[in-house]
Amino acid sequence: MSKTKNGILSLLIVIISLVFLSPIYIVIVNSFKTRAELYENVLSLPGTFSFEYYITAIKKMNFLVALGNSLYVTIVTVIFVIVLASMTAWMLVRRDNVMSKIIFFLFVATMLIPFQTLMMPLMQVMDWIRTHLHLPVLNTHGGLIFMNIGFHAGMAVFLYHGFIKSIPVALEEAAVLDGCSTLGVFWKIVFPLLKSISVTVAILDVIASWNDYLLPSLVLSEKGLRTIQLSTFYFFGEFTIVWNQAMAGLTLTIIPIVIFYAIAQKYIIKGIAAGAVK
Protein backbone atom coordinates (compact mmCIF):
# COMPACT_ATOMS: atom_id res chain seq x y z
CA MET A 1 0.00 0.00 0.00
CA SER A 2 1.38 3.42 -0.92
CA LYS A 3 1.85 6.04 1.76
CA THR A 4 -0.83 8.42 0.54
CA LYS A 5 -3.35 5.63 0.12
CA ASN A 6 -2.62 4.48 3.66
CA GLY A 7 -3.04 8.07 4.89
CA ILE A 8 -6.38 8.54 3.19
CA LEU A 9 -7.72 5.20 4.39
CA SER A 10 -6.49 5.90 7.91
CA LEU A 11 -8.34 9.20 7.94
CA LEU A 12 -11.44 7.55 6.51
CA ILE A 13 -11.73 4.98 9.28
CA VAL A 14 -11.16 7.65 11.90
CA ILE A 15 -14.11 9.49 10.41
CA ILE A 16 -16.17 6.29 10.43
CA SER A 17 -15.44 5.74 14.10
CA LEU A 18 -16.27 9.35 14.94
CA VAL A 19 -19.62 8.95 13.20
CA PHE A 20 -20.10 5.76 15.18
CA LEU A 21 -19.60 7.78 18.36
CA SER A 22 -21.93 10.59 17.29
CA PRO A 23 -24.60 9.64 19.88
CA ILE A 24 -22.18 10.75 22.57
CA TYR A 25 -21.61 14.02 20.71
CA ILE A 26 -25.38 14.52 20.51
CA VAL A 27 -25.75 13.99 24.26
CA ILE A 28 -23.00 16.47 25.09
CA VAL A 29 -24.01 19.31 22.75
CA ASN A 30 -27.64 19.11 23.73
CA SER A 31 -26.81 19.26 27.41
CA PHE A 32 -25.86 22.92 26.89
CA LYS A 33 -28.73 23.99 24.66
CA THR A 34 -31.89 25.86 25.56
CA ARG A 35 -35.15 24.08 24.80
CA ALA A 36 -35.82 26.20 21.71
CA GLU A 37 -32.37 25.44 20.31
CA LEU A 38 -32.76 21.76 21.07
CA TYR A 39 -36.02 21.44 19.20
CA GLU A 40 -34.61 23.35 16.24
CA ASN A 41 -31.66 21.06 15.49
CA VAL A 42 -30.22 18.27 17.63
CA LEU A 43 -26.94 18.14 15.74
CA SER A 44 -25.87 21.80 15.87
CA LEU A 45 -23.38 23.19 18.36
CA PRO A 46 -24.95 25.13 21.21
CA GLY A 47 -25.20 28.91 20.77
CA THR A 48 -24.29 29.61 24.34
CA PHE A 49 -22.56 27.44 26.90
CA SER A 50 -24.60 27.37 30.03
CA PHE A 51 -23.98 24.98 32.89
CA GLU A 52 -27.43 25.66 34.27
CA TYR A 53 -28.77 22.23 33.36
CA TYR A 54 -25.79 20.53 34.93
CA ILE A 55 -26.43 22.24 38.23
CA THR A 56 -30.08 21.18 38.16
CA ALA A 57 -29.19 17.63 37.11
CA ILE A 58 -26.57 17.29 39.86
CA LYS A 59 -29.16 18.37 42.42
CA LYS A 60 -32.01 16.23 41.15
CA MET A 61 -29.89 13.10 40.74
CA ASN A 62 -28.07 13.69 44.01
CA PHE A 63 -25.13 12.97 41.75
CA LEU A 64 -22.21 13.33 44.14
CA VAL A 65 -23.75 10.98 46.69
CA ALA A 66 -24.59 8.49 43.94
CA LEU A 67 -21.05 8.70 42.59
CA GLY A 68 -19.64 8.03 46.05
CA ASN A 69 -22.01 5.09 46.52
CA SER A 70 -21.07 3.58 43.17
CA LEU A 71 -17.37 3.98 43.86
CA TYR A 72 -17.69 2.45 47.31
CA VAL A 73 -19.72 -0.57 46.19
CA THR A 74 -17.53 -1.21 43.16
CA ILE A 75 -14.17 -0.88 44.89
CA VAL A 76 -15.08 -3.02 47.90
CA THR A 77 -16.65 -5.68 45.67
CA VAL A 78 -13.58 -5.88 43.46
CA ILE A 79 -11.14 -6.14 46.39
CA PHE A 80 -13.12 -8.97 47.96
CA VAL A 81 -13.55 -10.82 44.68
CA ILE A 82 -9.83 -10.65 43.89
CA VAL A 83 -8.67 -11.77 47.32
CA LEU A 84 -11.26 -14.53 47.83
CA ALA A 85 -11.35 -15.87 44.27
CA SER A 86 -7.56 -16.09 43.91
CA MET A 87 -7.26 -17.90 47.26
CA THR A 88 -10.06 -20.30 46.34
CA ALA A 89 -8.80 -21.01 42.84
CA TRP A 90 -5.25 -21.62 44.08
CA MET A 91 -6.41 -24.22 46.59
CA LEU A 92 -8.67 -25.87 44.01
CA VAL A 93 -5.78 -26.21 41.57
CA ARG A 94 -3.12 -27.33 44.08
CA ARG A 95 -5.32 -29.83 45.96
CA ASP A 96 -6.83 -31.54 42.99
CA ASN A 97 -9.19 -33.94 44.82
CA VAL A 98 -12.84 -34.87 44.27
CA MET A 99 -14.06 -32.06 46.52
CA SER A 100 -12.07 -29.50 44.51
CA LYS A 101 -13.49 -30.85 41.27
CA ILE A 102 -17.05 -30.59 42.56
CA ILE A 103 -16.58 -27.06 43.88
CA PHE A 104 -14.97 -25.91 40.64
CA PHE A 105 -17.72 -27.52 38.59
CA LEU A 106 -20.39 -25.71 40.63
CA PHE A 107 -18.68 -22.35 40.18
CA VAL A 108 -18.39 -22.78 36.43
CA ALA A 109 -21.67 -24.53 35.64
CA THR A 110 -23.77 -21.83 37.30
CA MET A 111 -22.25 -19.06 35.16
CA LEU A 112 -24.96 -19.70 32.58
CA ILE A 113 -27.84 -19.00 34.97
CA PRO A 114 -29.44 -15.66 34.09
CA PHE A 115 -30.00 -13.21 36.92
CA GLN A 116 -33.77 -13.26 36.35
CA THR A 117 -33.87 -16.93 37.34
CA LEU A 118 -32.30 -16.18 40.71
CA MET A 119 -33.62 -12.75 41.63
CA MET A 120 -36.91 -13.65 43.32
CA PRO A 121 -35.69 -16.63 45.38
CA LEU A 122 -32.54 -14.63 46.22
CA MET A 123 -34.68 -11.87 47.68
CA GLN A 124 -36.57 -14.50 49.71
CA VAL A 125 -33.30 -15.89 51.06
CA MET A 126 -32.06 -12.40 51.94
CA ASP A 127 -35.35 -11.58 53.62
CA TRP A 128 -35.07 -14.78 55.66
CA ILE A 129 -31.52 -13.86 56.71
CA ARG A 130 -32.68 -10.39 57.70
CA THR A 131 -35.62 -11.56 59.83
CA HIS A 132 -34.15 -14.74 61.32
CA LEU A 133 -30.46 -13.98 61.66
CA HIS A 134 -30.94 -10.21 62.10
CA LEU A 135 -28.22 -9.41 59.61
CA PRO A 136 -28.69 -6.16 57.64
CA VAL A 137 -28.42 -7.67 54.15
CA LEU A 138 -31.26 -5.72 52.57
CA ASN A 139 -31.19 -1.99 51.89
CA THR A 140 -27.49 -1.73 52.79
CA HIS A 141 -24.36 -1.40 50.70
CA GLY A 142 -22.87 -4.32 52.61
CA GLY A 143 -25.70 -6.57 51.45
CA LEU A 144 -25.30 -5.46 47.85
CA ILE A 145 -21.55 -6.08 48.01
CA PHE A 146 -22.17 -9.53 49.53
CA MET A 147 -24.46 -10.45 46.63
CA ASN A 148 -22.10 -8.94 44.05
CA ILE A 149 -19.31 -11.16 45.36
CA GLY A 150 -21.51 -14.22 45.01
CA PHE A 151 -22.47 -13.37 41.44
CA HIS A 152 -18.94 -12.53 40.32
CA ALA A 153 -17.38 -15.56 42.02
CA GLY A 154 -17.87 -18.05 39.18
CA MET A 155 -16.18 -15.98 36.48
CA ALA A 156 -13.31 -14.91 38.76
CA VAL A 157 -12.56 -18.43 40.01
CA PHE A 158 -12.72 -19.72 36.45
CA LEU A 159 -10.17 -17.15 35.21
CA TYR A 160 -7.78 -17.63 38.14
CA HIS A 161 -8.08 -21.41 37.89
CA GLY A 162 -7.00 -21.42 34.25
CA PHE A 163 -4.09 -19.08 34.98
CA ILE A 164 -2.80 -20.86 38.09
CA LYS A 165 -2.69 -24.20 36.26
CA SER A 166 0.04 -22.77 34.05
CA ILE A 167 2.25 -21.68 36.97
CA PRO A 168 4.90 -24.29 37.91
CA VAL A 169 4.51 -25.59 41.44
CA ALA A 170 8.28 -25.91 42.08
CA LEU A 171 8.67 -22.40 43.48
CA GLU A 172 5.93 -23.01 46.04
CA GLU A 173 7.44 -26.33 47.08
CA ALA A 174 10.81 -24.67 47.62
CA ALA A 175 9.19 -22.05 49.82
CA VAL A 176 7.45 -24.72 51.88
CA LEU A 177 10.80 -26.47 52.45
CA ASP A 178 12.18 -23.13 53.62
CA GLY A 179 9.49 -23.15 56.29
CA CYS A 180 7.02 -20.75 54.71
CA SER A 181 3.42 -21.21 55.93
CA THR A 182 0.55 -21.85 53.52
CA LEU A 183 -0.63 -18.28 53.92
CA GLY A 184 2.90 -17.01 53.39
CA VAL A 185 3.38 -19.05 50.24
CA PHE A 186 0.19 -17.69 48.80
CA TRP A 187 0.68 -14.02 49.62
CA LYS A 188 4.43 -13.72 49.13
CA ILE A 189 4.92 -16.02 46.15
CA VAL A 190 1.72 -16.91 44.32
CA PHE A 191 -0.33 -13.72 44.53
CA PRO A 192 2.35 -11.48 42.95
CA LEU A 193 2.56 -13.91 40.03
CA LEU A 194 -1.16 -13.50 39.43
CA LYS A 195 -0.90 -9.79 38.73
CA SER A 196 -1.90 -9.87 35.06
CA ILE A 197 -4.97 -12.07 35.59
CA SER A 198 -5.92 -10.02 38.66
CA VAL A 199 -6.01 -6.92 36.46
CA THR A 200 -8.33 -8.74 34.04
CA VAL A 201 -10.63 -9.89 36.83
CA ALA A 202 -10.63 -6.41 38.36
CA ILE A 203 -11.58 -4.75 35.08
CA LEU A 204 -14.37 -7.19 34.29
CA ASP A 205 -15.71 -6.77 37.82
CA VAL A 206 -15.49 -2.99 37.80
CA ILE A 207 -17.52 -2.86 34.60
CA ALA A 208 -20.08 -5.43 35.78
CA SER A 209 -20.53 -3.87 39.19
CA TRP A 210 -20.54 -0.24 38.03
CA ASN A 211 -23.11 -0.80 35.28
CA ASP A 212 -25.41 -3.13 37.17
CA TYR A 213 -28.91 -1.84 37.56
CA LEU A 214 -31.27 -4.71 38.37
CA LEU A 215 -29.65 -6.14 41.51
CA PRO A 216 -29.12 -2.75 43.20
CA SER A 217 -32.70 -1.81 42.30
CA LEU A 218 -33.97 -4.85 44.21
CA VAL A 219 -31.64 -4.48 47.19
CA LEU A 220 -31.51 -0.73 47.81
CA SER A 221 -34.68 1.19 48.47
CA GLU A 222 -33.37 4.11 50.51
CA LYS A 223 -32.73 7.24 48.46
CA GLY A 224 -29.37 8.04 50.01
CA LEU A 225 -27.96 4.62 49.10
CA ARG A 226 -28.64 4.83 45.37
CA THR A 227 -25.85 4.12 42.92
CA ILE A 228 -25.42 6.08 39.68
CA GLN A 229 -27.52 3.63 37.68
CA LEU A 230 -30.34 3.85 40.19
CA SER A 231 -30.30 7.62 40.46
CA THR A 232 -30.33 7.86 36.65
CA PHE A 233 -33.33 5.57 36.53
CA TYR A 234 -35.27 7.58 39.09
CA PHE A 235 -34.19 10.84 37.45
CA PHE A 236 -35.79 9.70 34.20
CA GLY A 237 -38.80 8.26 35.95
CA GLU A 238 -39.83 10.97 38.37
CA PHE A 239 -40.16 13.94 36.06
CA THR A 240 -41.57 14.36 32.62
CA ILE A 241 -38.37 14.38 30.67
CA VAL A 242 -36.78 17.78 30.20
CA TRP A 243 -34.33 16.68 27.55
CA ASN A 244 -31.56 19.22 28.04
CA GLN A 245 -31.44 18.45 31.76
CA ALA A 246 -31.56 14.75 30.98
CA MET A 247 -28.64 15.12 28.57
CA ALA A 248 -26.66 16.95 31.24
CA GLY A 249 -27.40 14.07 33.63
CA LEU A 250 -26.29 11.48 31.08
CA THR A 251 -23.08 13.40 30.35
CA LEU A 252 -22.33 13.34 34.06
CA THR A 253 -22.80 9.57 34.20
CA ILE A 254 -20.48 9.08 31.23
CA ILE A 255 -17.63 11.20 32.66
CA PRO A 256 -16.42 8.63 35.25
CA ILE A 257 -16.45 5.93 32.56
CA VAL A 258 -14.39 8.06 30.18
CA ILE A 259 -11.87 8.82 32.94
CA PHE A 260 -11.61 5.13 33.80
CA TYR A 261 -11.17 4.29 30.12
CA ALA A 262 -8.53 6.98 29.62
CA ILE A 263 -6.47 5.73 32.55
CA ALA A 264 -6.74 1.99 32.01
CA GLN A 265 -7.44 1.77 28.27
CA LYS A 266 -4.64 -0.64 27.47
CA TYR A 267 -5.58 -3.01 30.28
CA ILE A 268 -9.29 -2.80 29.56
CA ILE A 269 -9.05 -3.94 25.94
CA LYS A 270 -6.52 -6.64 26.86
CA GLY A 271 -8.60 -7.73 29.83
CA ILE A 272 -11.80 -7.91 27.81
CA ALA A 273 -10.14 -10.01 25.13
CA ALA A 274 -8.48 -12.29 27.68
CA GLY A 275 -11.64 -12.65 29.76
CA ALA A 276 -13.74 -13.57 26.76
CA VAL A 277 -11.31 -15.93 25.10
CA LYS A 278 -10.80 -18.06 28.20
Binding site: V14, V42, M87, T110, P114, T117, Q124, F233
Partner: protein, 289 residues
Protein backbone atom coordinates in the same frame (compact mmCIF):
# COMPACT_ATOMS: atom_id res chain seq x y z
CA UNK B 1 -2.50 -33.52 58.14
CA UNK B 2 -5.52 -31.94 59.87
CA UNK B 3 -3.60 -28.69 59.50
CA UNK B 4 -3.60 -29.15 55.75
CA UNK B 5 -7.36 -29.70 55.72
CA UNK B 6 -7.89 -26.64 57.84
CA UNK B 7 -6.00 -24.46 55.36
CA UNK B 8 -8.06 -25.92 52.54
CA UNK B 9 -11.24 -24.77 54.22
CA UNK B 10 -9.85 -21.38 55.21
CA UNK B 11 -8.94 -20.69 51.59
CA UNK B 12 -11.98 -22.05 49.80
CA UNK B 13 -14.92 -21.76 52.17
CA UNK B 14 -15.42 -17.97 52.51
CA UNK B 15 -16.10 -17.51 48.80
CA UNK B 16 -17.92 -20.80 48.46
CA UNK B 17 -20.29 -19.93 51.30
CA UNK B 18 -21.17 -16.57 49.75
CA UNK B 19 -21.66 -18.30 46.40
CA UNK B 20 -23.82 -20.95 48.07
CA UNK B 21 -26.10 -18.38 49.67
CA UNK B 22 -26.32 -16.06 46.68
CA UNK B 23 -26.42 -18.48 43.75
CA UNK B 24 -26.91 -22.15 44.61
CA UNK B 25 -29.57 -21.95 47.30
CA UNK B 26 -31.71 -19.43 45.37
CA UNK B 27 -31.43 -21.60 42.30
CA UNK B 28 -32.72 -24.67 44.14
CA UNK B 29 -35.44 -22.74 45.96
CA UNK B 30 -36.35 -21.22 42.61
CA UNK B 31 -37.11 -24.65 41.19
CA UNK B 32 -39.41 -25.30 44.15
CA UNK B 33 -41.14 -21.93 43.71
CA UNK B 34 -41.94 -22.76 40.11
CA UNK B 35 -44.25 -25.54 41.34
CA UNK B 36 -46.29 -23.43 43.75
CA UNK B 37 -48.88 -20.73 43.55
CA UNK B 38 -48.05 -17.72 45.66
CA UNK B 39 -48.71 -13.97 45.63
CA UNK B 40 -45.43 -13.02 47.25
CA UNK B 41 -46.91 -11.83 50.54
CA UNK B 42 -45.45 -13.22 53.77
CA UNK B 43 -47.83 -15.41 55.71
CA UNK B 44 -50.09 -16.20 52.79
CA UNK B 45 -50.21 -19.89 51.86
CA UNK B 46 -47.97 -21.34 49.19
CA UNK B 47 -50.07 -23.87 47.34
CA UNK B 48 -48.35 -26.75 45.58
CA UNK B 49 -49.70 -26.94 42.04
CA UNK B 50 -47.30 -29.34 40.32
CA UNK B 51 -46.70 -28.50 36.68
CA UNK B 52 -49.70 -26.12 36.48
CA UNK B 53 -47.48 -23.05 36.16
CA UNK B 54 -45.63 -24.60 33.26
CA UNK B 55 -48.83 -25.49 31.41
CA UNK B 56 -50.24 -22.04 32.21
CA UNK B 57 -47.30 -20.22 30.70
CA UNK B 58 -47.75 -22.07 27.43
CA UNK B 59 -51.21 -20.49 27.21
CA UNK B 60 -50.03 -17.05 28.27
CA UNK B 61 -50.40 -15.00 25.06
CA UNK B 62 -48.25 -12.13 26.30
CA UNK B 63 -45.49 -14.59 27.19
CA UNK B 64 -45.64 -16.31 23.81
CA UNK B 65 -45.55 -12.97 22.01
CA UNK B 66 -42.64 -11.93 24.17
CA UNK B 67 -40.78 -15.15 23.36
CA UNK B 68 -41.32 -14.65 19.66
CA UNK B 69 -40.07 -11.05 19.89
CA UNK B 70 -37.02 -12.17 21.80
CA UNK B 71 -36.22 -14.72 19.11
CA UNK B 72 -36.63 -12.10 16.36
CA UNK B 73 -34.52 -9.63 18.30
CA UNK B 74 -31.80 -12.21 18.96
CA UNK B 75 -31.51 -13.25 15.33
CA UNK B 76 -31.25 -9.65 14.06
CA UNK B 77 -28.85 -8.73 16.84
CA UNK B 78 -26.65 -11.77 16.25
CA UNK B 79 -26.20 -10.90 12.59
CA UNK B 80 -25.71 -7.16 12.96
CA UNK B 81 -23.37 -7.27 15.96
CA UNK B 82 -21.06 -9.87 14.46
CA UNK B 83 -21.09 -8.42 10.96
CA UNK B 84 -20.19 -4.96 12.21
CA UNK B 85 -17.69 -6.28 14.76
CA UNK B 86 -15.94 -8.32 12.07
CA UNK B 87 -15.83 -5.41 9.62
CA UNK B 88 -14.41 -3.17 12.33
CA UNK B 89 -11.81 -5.79 13.22
CA UNK B 90 -10.71 -6.16 9.59
CA UNK B 91 -10.41 -2.38 9.27
CA UNK B 92 -8.37 -2.06 12.46
CA UNK B 93 -5.99 -4.89 11.53
CA UNK B 94 -5.41 -3.74 7.95
CA UNK B 95 -2.15 -2.07 8.94
CA UNK B 96 -3.29 1.54 9.01
CA UNK B 97 -1.56 4.20 11.10
CA UNK B 98 -4.62 5.11 13.09
CA UNK B 99 -5.55 1.54 14.09
CA UNK B 100 -5.06 1.97 17.82
CA UNK B 101 -7.03 5.19 17.99
CA UNK B 102 -9.87 3.65 16.00
CA UNK B 103 -9.97 0.55 18.17
CA UNK B 104 -10.14 2.71 21.28
CA UNK B 105 -12.98 4.82 19.89
CA UNK B 106 -15.05 1.92 18.59
CA UNK B 107 -14.85 0.00 21.85
CA UNK B 108 -16.00 2.96 23.96
CA UNK B 109 -19.80 2.37 23.91
CA UNK B 110 -19.33 -1.07 25.46
CA UNK B 111 -18.21 0.47 28.73
CA UNK B 112 -21.37 2.50 29.17
CA UNK B 113 -24.05 0.59 31.03
CA UNK B 114 -27.14 -0.65 29.20
CA UNK B 115 -29.49 1.54 31.20
CA UNK B 116 -27.66 4.72 30.22
CA UNK B 117 -27.25 3.63 26.59
CA UNK B 118 -31.00 3.15 26.38
CA UNK B 119 -31.66 6.67 27.66
CA UNK B 120 -29.13 8.18 25.23
CA UNK B 121 -30.82 6.50 22.29
CA UNK B 122 -34.30 7.24 23.54
CA UNK B 123 -33.51 10.90 22.96
CA UNK B 124 -31.98 10.20 19.54
CA UNK B 125 -34.94 8.17 18.35
CA UNK B 126 -37.53 10.50 19.82
CA UNK B 127 -36.17 13.90 18.79
CA UNK B 128 -33.43 13.02 16.33
CA UNK B 129 -35.70 10.66 14.41
CA UNK B 130 -38.42 13.28 14.07
CA UNK B 131 -36.01 16.01 13.00
CA UNK B 132 -34.28 13.91 10.35
CA UNK B 133 -37.70 13.01 8.99
CA UNK B 134 -38.70 16.67 8.78
CA UNK B 135 -35.38 17.73 7.26
CA UNK B 136 -35.16 15.06 4.59
CA UNK B 137 -38.84 14.65 3.91
CA UNK B 138 -38.46 10.89 4.40
CA UNK B 139 -40.81 10.94 7.34
CA UNK B 140 -42.09 7.44 6.63
CA UNK B 141 -38.59 6.08 7.42
CA UNK B 142 -37.32 8.63 9.91
CA UNK B 143 -39.76 9.25 12.71
CA UNK B 144 -39.96 8.30 16.35
CA UNK B 145 -39.30 4.59 15.95
CA UNK B 146 -40.17 3.92 19.56
CA UNK B 147 -43.91 4.38 18.97
CA UNK B 148 -44.11 1.76 16.22
CA UNK B 149 -44.12 -1.92 17.31
CA UNK B 150 -41.83 -3.18 14.52
CA UNK B 151 -39.49 -0.22 14.39
CA UNK B 152 -39.19 -0.20 18.19
CA UNK B 153 -37.77 -3.73 18.03
CA UNK B 154 -35.31 -2.58 15.37
CA UNK B 155 -34.40 0.35 17.60
CA UNK B 156 -33.47 -2.18 20.28
CA UNK B 157 -31.31 -4.04 17.76
CA UNK B 158 -29.58 -0.77 16.84
CA UNK B 159 -28.74 0.07 20.44
CA UNK B 160 -27.62 -3.47 21.26
CA UNK B 161 -25.40 -3.44 18.16
CA UNK B 162 -23.92 -0.11 19.18
CA UNK B 163 -23.13 -1.59 22.58
CA UNK B 164 -21.75 -4.95 21.46
CA UNK B 165 -20.02 -4.36 18.09
CA UNK B 166 -16.89 -2.95 19.73
CA UNK B 167 -16.80 -5.87 22.12
CA UNK B 168 -16.89 -8.52 19.41
CA UNK B 169 -14.41 -6.40 17.44
CA UNK B 170 -11.84 -6.76 20.23
CA UNK B 171 -12.25 -10.54 20.20
CA UNK B 172 -12.07 -10.76 16.40
CA UNK B 173 -8.94 -8.58 16.44
CA UNK B 174 -7.27 -11.00 18.86
CA UNK B 175 -8.22 -13.85 16.51
CA UNK B 176 -6.97 -12.12 13.37
CA UNK B 177 -3.68 -11.18 15.02
CA UNK B 178 -3.21 -14.84 15.89
CA UNK B 179 -3.13 -15.79 12.21
CA UNK B 180 0.51 -15.95 11.18
CA UNK B 181 1.77 -13.51 8.55
CA UNK B 182 3.67 -16.31 6.84
CA UNK B 183 0.48 -18.13 5.92
CA UNK B 184 -0.99 -14.95 4.46
CA UNK B 185 2.21 -14.13 2.56
CA UNK B 186 2.43 -17.65 1.19
CA UNK B 187 -1.14 -17.43 -0.04
CA UNK B 188 -0.39 -14.08 -1.66
CA UNK B 189 2.65 -15.52 -3.43
CA UNK B 190 0.51 -18.41 -4.64
CA UNK B 191 -1.78 -15.88 -6.26
CA UNK B 192 -4.78 -16.03 -3.89
CA UNK B 193 -6.81 -12.83 -4.19
CA UNK B 194 -8.27 -11.02 -1.20
CA UNK B 195 -11.60 -12.88 -1.41
CA UNK B 196 -9.88 -16.25 -1.39
CA UNK B 197 -7.58 -15.21 1.42
CA UNK B 198 -10.63 -14.23 3.47
CA UNK B 199 -12.85 -17.22 2.80
CA UNK B 200 -10.18 -19.92 2.62
CA UNK B 201 -7.77 -18.75 5.34
CA UNK B 202 -9.02 -15.99 7.61
CA UNK B 203 -12.58 -17.19 8.26
CA UNK B 204 -11.73 -20.86 8.92
CA UNK B 205 -8.92 -19.85 11.28
CA UNK B 206 -11.27 -17.40 12.99
CA UNK B 207 -13.73 -20.12 14.00
CA UNK B 208 -12.63 -20.02 17.67
CA UNK B 209 -13.39 -16.28 17.69
CA UNK B 210 -16.78 -16.95 16.08
CA UNK B 211 -17.53 -19.50 18.79
CA UNK B 212 -16.87 -16.94 21.50
CA UNK B 213 -18.56 -13.99 19.83
CA UNK B 214 -21.67 -15.93 18.88
CA UNK B 215 -21.91 -17.27 22.42
CA UNK B 216 -21.56 -13.81 23.94
CA UNK B 217 -24.04 -12.14 21.61
CA UNK B 218 -26.50 -15.01 21.83
CA UNK B 219 -26.61 -15.06 25.61
CA UNK B 220 -26.39 -11.27 25.82
CA UNK B 221 -29.29 -10.76 23.43
CA UNK B 222 -31.45 -13.38 25.11
CA UNK B 223 -30.87 -11.86 28.54
CA UNK B 224 -31.22 -8.21 27.52
CA UNK B 225 -33.04 -6.20 30.17
CA UNK B 226 -31.46 -2.83 30.99
CA UNK B 227 -31.59 -1.43 27.45
CA UNK B 228 -35.11 -2.79 27.07
CA UNK B 229 -36.16 -1.01 30.24
CA UNK B 230 -34.69 2.39 29.49
CA UNK B 231 -35.29 2.51 25.73
CA UNK B 232 -38.84 1.23 25.32
CA UNK B 233 -39.91 -0.14 28.72
CA UNK B 234 -41.67 -2.85 26.75
CA UNK B 235 -43.74 -0.36 24.77
CA UNK B 236 -45.59 0.49 22.64
CA UNK B 237 -48.07 -1.48 24.79
CA UNK B 238 -46.30 -4.84 25.24
CA UNK B 239 -44.78 -5.12 21.79
CA UNK B 240 -41.13 -4.95 22.84
CA UNK B 241 -41.45 -6.66 26.21
CA UNK B 242 -38.65 -9.18 25.81
CA UNK B 243 -38.16 -12.39 27.79
CA UNK B 244 -36.29 -11.03 30.80
CA UNK B 245 -38.68 -8.13 31.21
CA UNK B 246 -41.70 -10.41 30.95
CA UNK B 247 -40.30 -12.55 33.78
CA UNK B 248 -39.60 -9.48 35.91
CA UNK B 249 -43.06 -8.01 35.33
CA UNK B 250 -44.83 -11.31 36.01
CA UNK B 251 -43.15 -11.63 39.39
CA UNK B 252 -42.74 -8.10 40.71
CA UNK B 253 -45.35 -6.33 38.57
CA UNK B 254 -48.31 -8.73 38.65
CA UNK B 255 -47.24 -10.56 41.80
CA UNK B 256 -47.55 -14.03 40.26
CA UNK B 257 -44.50 -15.45 41.99
CA UNK B 258 -45.04 -19.09 41.04
CA UNK B 259 -45.90 -18.49 37.39
CA UNK B 260 -43.12 -15.92 37.05
CA UNK B 261 -40.57 -18.29 38.54
CA UNK B 262 -41.69 -21.07 36.19
CA UNK B 263 -40.98 -18.66 33.33
CA UNK B 264 -37.60 -17.86 34.90
CA UNK B 265 -36.66 -21.54 35.07
CA UNK B 266 -37.76 -22.08 31.49
CA UNK B 267 -35.70 -18.99 30.58
CA UNK B 268 -32.62 -20.63 32.09
CA UNK B 269 -33.25 -23.94 30.33
CA UNK B 270 -33.65 -22.24 26.95
CA UNK B 271 -30.47 -20.19 27.38
CA UNK B 272 -28.49 -23.23 28.48
CA UNK B 273 -29.74 -25.42 25.64
CA UNK B 274 -29.34 -22.78 22.93
CA UNK B 275 -25.86 -21.58 23.93
CA UNK B 276 -24.47 -25.06 24.58
CA UNK B 277 -25.80 -26.28 21.22
CA UNK B 278 -24.23 -23.27 19.51
CA UNK B 279 -20.85 -23.84 21.15
CA UNK B 280 -20.87 -27.52 20.19
CA UNK B 281 -21.77 -26.72 16.57
CA UNK B 282 -19.20 -23.96 16.08
CA UNK B 283 -16.49 -25.86 17.99
CA UNK B 284 -16.86 -28.74 15.57
CA UNK B 285 -16.07 -26.38 12.71
CA UNK B 286 -12.87 -25.10 14.28
CA UNK B 287 -9.73 -26.10 12.41
CA UNK B 288 -6.19 -26.57 13.64
CA UNK B 289 -3.20 -24.85 12.07
Amino acid sequence: MPNKKLWYFIFTMPLFLVFLIVVLVPFLIGIYYSFINWGGIDGTPKVFVGFDNYTALLQDKRFLASSWNTIKFTIFALVSVNLLGLVFALLVTSGLKTSNLVRTLLFMPNLIGGLILGYIWRFIFTDGGNQIGLLTGLDNIFFNWLIDPNYALIALVVVFTWQMAGYTMVIYIAGIQGISDEVMEAAKVDGANIWHRMTKIVFPLLMPSFTICLFLTLSGAFKIYDVNLSLTNGGPIHHTELFAMNVFNEIFGYGNYGLGQAKAILFFIIIAVVTITQVIITKRREVQM
